[in-house]
Homo-oligomer: 116 residues x 2
Amino acid sequence: MARPTAPESPEVDHSFCPVYEAINVLQEKWTLHIIRSLLDGPKGFNELSRAVGGCNPATLAQRVEKLEHLGIVSKTIHSTMPPRTSYALTEAGQALQAVIEAIDRWGRQYLPEPVV
Amino acid sequence: MARPTAPESPEVDHSFCPVYEAINVLQEKWTLHIIRSLLDGPKGFNELSRAVGGCNPATLAQRVEKLEHLGIVSKTIHSTMPPRTSYALTEAGQALQAVIEAIDRWGRQYLPEPVV
DNA sequence: TCATAGCGATATATTTTGTCAATCGTTTGG
DNA sequence: CCAAACGATTGACAAAATATATCGCTATGA
């Protein structure tokens, strides 16, 4: 047991495998959607919420906080009143474009029909 | 509302966006770990479980069934008693190697230190 | 001027999802 | 001949996500 945040089994040693960690970060619900939305520019909270499509504010706030903590997203408060905040991708976040593009290519090729 | 399985908001139209769908498939917990494990060859149920590391059998069975249904994983029953089954990636599943590799590169570059 | 919509969130209650631990009948290794 | 391993399945439980309402405040339009 090396990484407390990662799910572990006694049989396999995943101690510190960057891919395993990366997967753990990206597999959380909405995370990839958030990153994809931010790839076309910084957004405010509600703006991001609309772009992501369907994520409720509680989850969105939590995800975005975690991504900020991981250095993937940066949060800038322009004014508290009226509330004006913007979320943008950091360099690490921008680098995830490659991942999104890979998913994009895969989706176009192998999910041509609606998934039921 | 176009895709019943996808989370939707009235403001944004995600009706049929392959990337959006692909993300929805890949973001489910353990899915990427399962695919990554199967990239180095077919595995039995418990073998897969150990390779994935930490996923409980109920969830694993459910994930693997869904992936089979999506045409990403194929299940072959060699014998029912004694139980002998193997799970392998289909062509669509193999194609996800590109995605895993992109995540791999990203992880190595941007997650060099343990993620708390 | 005065209601209204929008901002960035947060709280509570409920539903969905994932986990834990035990279990099945059979074969194999010691 | 007893214990472990195989591929799962079950039911009770915990954790995560959702819907919905709400906050204080302001800029806008009628």
